[in-house]
């Protein structure tokens, strides 16, 4: 099984949650690497999807990785108290 990279879009707002959910569902059962380098903002609903995916993949025993988080992505996660989702995020402080 090959590891497929999913690149997140710039804006992970409420409109992005549905498509992201669908995309991830389609990759169920396979290890997935998520490239968060393009992300400029992330909202609560996309965070839910990512959190859900992370635990779903963990339950399936498949690899789930978020790589190259942009500063904005990391900040967003930290702001929402979810820096554990992408460990690198913990390094960046919250800022405006």
């Amino acid at each position: 099984m090959t590891d497929e990279t999913l690149t997140l879009g710039e804006s992970l707002d409420m409109t992005a949650a549905g498509p992201l959910h669908k995309e991830l569902l389609g990759r169920r059962g396979k290890p997935v690497t998520i490239d968060a380098s393009q992300v400029r903002r992330i909202g609560g609903q996309c965070l839910q999807v990512l959190l859900s995916a992370q635990s779903t993949w963990a339950a399936d025993g498949a690899d789930f990785q978020i790589t190259e988080p942009s500063t904005e992505f990391s900040d967003g996660l930290t702001l929402m108290g979810a820096s554990h989702l992408a460990p690198a995020a913990a390094l960046s402080p919250v800022q405006d």
Binding site: D13, A17, V49
Partner: protein, 743 residues
């Protein structure tokens, strides 16, 4: 439509409602109403627009609304008395706010020409209380800035707990799906909290289901946030003000006991905060009283304000300088009624639903199909030779009635009172009155008259123009009025009524009437008529509707915006309506518009021409007649006139006009429809035969094919055939041209 666009659309719809509320509230205040609930309603309207604009980052709107709101807060708190001058400024500010909303809706860039000046005026009003830095900062800043102003409240009126700074506040925040659906964002709210203090965020994600069970539009996350620093519970609540009903929110002192009732389904302390917010001058005792009362979701008005807002000394209505002496009783009642309307509408709000217009239109379309289908079925039954009294035919009759009723009910869904247009006019009158220096009183009647939404939307421009005209050209200057023994204050009356299946709207003034000499000389000067032409008074009056009559050089700034009365007439005609003018020298003029109630169905006269079935709108038909040979006179070529009761009108062969035949039908073999076209001009349309009169469902040709000269639209008849609906005015105009050539 993508969800965000749909939400934005809803926001703009709500803005329209808020703007209407704002204006009627301000007008009521101007009329001397001091009900604190009206002041609150006005404030809430601006506050809501600002809040919504914040969610969509509509910068210009937010900035302006913020300054406006701050000024209104001064009035609300009783620190500024709503004098006539203050309210005038506020009304103009409401105007700019409306423009900004429309600009945002149209995605227009650029500065509003009056916005900056009004911002200064509003700031001057609020005595510099506005935190101007707010306007320079990121929009995210807007939510809590007003609270800074709120804290400026006189010390004796401020409840103690409002100003007490706590070491920290603990916030438990759980968004509901609606919060996101309304384009609010948990992350932004958290960021806001981060701005007012130092935050420590703990995420609770235990409700997040496995991916396959997850609804991406639902809300599963909740947060516990410790906010420390210079924060109060109120400043924290301000952050969440816009998502109040869409989340579970608990705000409590850090490390302290939760606020009483905080565990309830909705936040009691938040409600308390809102009640306080809405009654800044109320003593704490009054707030307790509020708590004992049954809890309403809408904040109740202040039961007993300590410092009632001073009453405006000189209430002025839709009147302009020089200041109107007193409030005319009729206008006062109207405004009072307006104010009550605002209140009672709120109470009724629960009984209405907001439906996408497309859905209603689709329903109307389907009912149209049903009507056609029912007509087809009736025809088939007839053809099958079933007796009129047979059970099938009787059943069909019932079906027909039912269909009609359904059709009427569906049309009623689209119907709206003309009030929405009428209520824009008082401001216009004020503005124009101020510019012309003529004192004017606007009297409106029949605001509750209902008409199709499309008609209403397209009425605003012509009405605006006509009212401008009435004041600018219709009313005389105060000196002239005094000389003529009239009161200095001119009256412009706007009325609406239902008359035989149509809506009739009248704009009248009590001015000098049309100066026929001048109109005629202008028309001659502009080459619209020949100098020798002898015209009746009515014909002269109708000259003002001619294209090219009004030009920028001749009209003043107010009326002359490159639109003449011909544009007004055309827009009315485009609605299937007619406009006429009656004028009496020294007494004034009246413009009368008659419009169909709906643009979806039409009462038509079904006629046949060269084997084709055509429909003529019944509203244009005055009478039908059988031409006698001695009444018809040829003008050479194919041009003919027919004498009707001593006058001559052009006789137009419809078959020729539409190209169905090359040789004209002998007049005696056909039937003539005497019609009244644009500006009251008459003509007789010659057809082969009349089939009958029926209601037809209009199917747009433009939408389905393309525009055809002489044809307004099409319809489908009972036998399934398509029949064209005649565009009478075009046929008459084209034939006139032909006739001139022939003559």
């Amino acid at each position: 439509m993508d969800p965000l666009a749909a939400i934005l659309e809803t926001f703009f719809q709500e803005c329209e409602e808020q703007l209407a509320e704002l204006e009627s509230g301000l007008l009521a205040m101007e009329g001397g109403d001091t009900d604190p609930e009206i002041v609150n309603a006005v404030f809430r309207a601006v506050h809501s627009i600002k809040g919504g604009a914040g969610a969509f980052s509509l910068e210009a709107l937010i900035r302006f609304a913020h300054v406006f709101e701050t000024a209104l807060d001064e009035v609300r708190s009783g620190r500024m008395s709503p004098t006539s001058d203050v309210l005038k400024t506020m009304l103009r500010a409401a105007d700019v706010l409306a423009d900004l909303v429309r600009a945002a809706q149209a995605k227009e860039e650029g500065e509003h020409p009056n916005a900056a000046a009004l911002v200064e005026e509003l700031k001057a009003l609020s005595g510099g209380a506005v935190d101007t830095s707010g306007s320079e900062e990121d929009w995210g800043d807007f939510e809590f800035t007003p609270s800074v102003v709120a804290f400026d409240a006189p010390a004796d009126a401020a409840p103690v707990e409002e100003v007490e700074i706590q070491p920290g506040v603990k916030v438990t925040f759980k968004p509901r799906g609606d919060l996101y659906a309304k384009a609010n964002e948990a992350a932004i709210l958290l960021r806001e909290l981060g701005r007012i203090g130092t935050i420590e965020v703990e995420l609770d994600a235990h409700e997040v289901p496995p991916l396959q069970d997850l609804d991406p539009e639902a809300a599963y996350l909740s947060w516990t946030i410790n906010v420390t620093g210079d924060v109060t519970e109120d400043s924290v609540r301000e952050v969440f003000e816009w998502v109040d009903g869409d989340c579970e929110l608990k705000v409590e002192p850090l490390g302290g006991a939760p606020a009483p009732g905080a565990d309830a389904g909705f936040d009691l302390s938040a409600l308390l905060a809102r009640v306080q917010d809405d009654t800044p001058a109320a003593p704490p005792a009054a707030i307790e009283l509020e708590l004992e009362a049954p809890l309403a979701l809408e904040p109740a008005p202040a039961p007993e304000p300590v410092a009632p807002a001073p009453v405006a000394p000189a209430p002025v209505v839709a009147a302009a300088p020089p200041p109107a002496p007193a409030l005319p009783p009729a206008a006062a009642n109207e405004h009072a009624a307006d104010g009550q309307g605002a209140g009672s509408r709120k109470a009724e709000a629960g009984a209405t639903i907001r439906v996408d217009l497309d859905r209603v239109d689709r329903l109307i379309d389907l009912v149209g199909e049903l009507v056609i289908n029912q007509a087809v079925l009736a025809q088939r039954v007839m053809e099958a030779g079933l007796a009129r009294a047979s059970a099938v035919a009787m059943g069909l009759d019932e079906l027909e009635q039912l269909t009609r009723e359904i059709q009427d009910s569906v049309m009623a869904i689209r119907a709206q009172p003309v009030k929405s247009v009428f209520q824009r006019m008082p401001r216009l009158v004020r503005e124009v009155a101020a510019m012309t220096g003529k004192p004017v009183r606007l009297v409106t009647e029949g605001e509750g008259t209902e008409v199709d939404k499309t008609v209403i939307e397209r009425l605003a421009d012509p009405l605006t123009h006509m009212i401008r005209n009435a004041i600018d050209h219709g009313l005389e200057s105060p000196e002239k009025r005094a000389a003529a023994g009239k009161p200095a204050e001119g009256v412009v009356k706007l009325s609406a009524a239902h008359r035989s299946g149509r809506i009739v709207i009248e704009v009248s003034d009590d001015g000098g009437g049309i100066n026929r000499e001048r109109v005629k000389s202008i028309a001659i000067e502009k080459n619209l008529i020949s100098a020798e032409a002898t015209l009746s008074d009515e014909e002269i009056d109708n000259l003002i509707f001619m294209p090219g009559f009004s030009t920028a050089s001749e009209v003043s700034d107010i009326s002359g915006r490159g639109v003449g009365m011909d544009v007004v007439r055309r827009s009315i005609q485009a609605l299937g309506g007619r406009i006429t003018i009656t004028s009496r020298p020294g007494k004034g003029s009246t413009f009368t518009m008659s419009l169909p109630l709906t643009l979806a169905v039409l009462d038509g006269m079904v006629v046949s021409v060269e084997g084709q079935t055509l429909v003529a709108p019944i509203t244009a038909i005055i009478e039908t007649l059988q031409p006698k040979s001695e009444d018809v006179h040829s003008l050479g070529g194919h041009a003919r006139v027919i004498s009707i009761r001593g006058g001559f009108v052009p006789l137009i062969d419809v078959g020729m006009a539409l190209g169905y035949r090359r040789e004209p039908l002998p007049a005696t073999q056909g039937v003539a429809l005497l019609i009244e076209g644009e500006g009251g001009s008459r003509a007789a349309l010659l057809c082969d035969a009349i089939q009958g009169q029926r209601q037809v469902v209009i199917k747009s040709l433009e939408a389905n094919y393309r525009q055809v000269p002489g044809v307004a639209a099409a319809t489908i008849l009972g036998d399934g055939r398509v029949a064209l609906i005649l565009d009478i005015d075009t046929i008459v105009t084209v034939s006139r041209g032909d006739m001139r050539k022939a003559g």
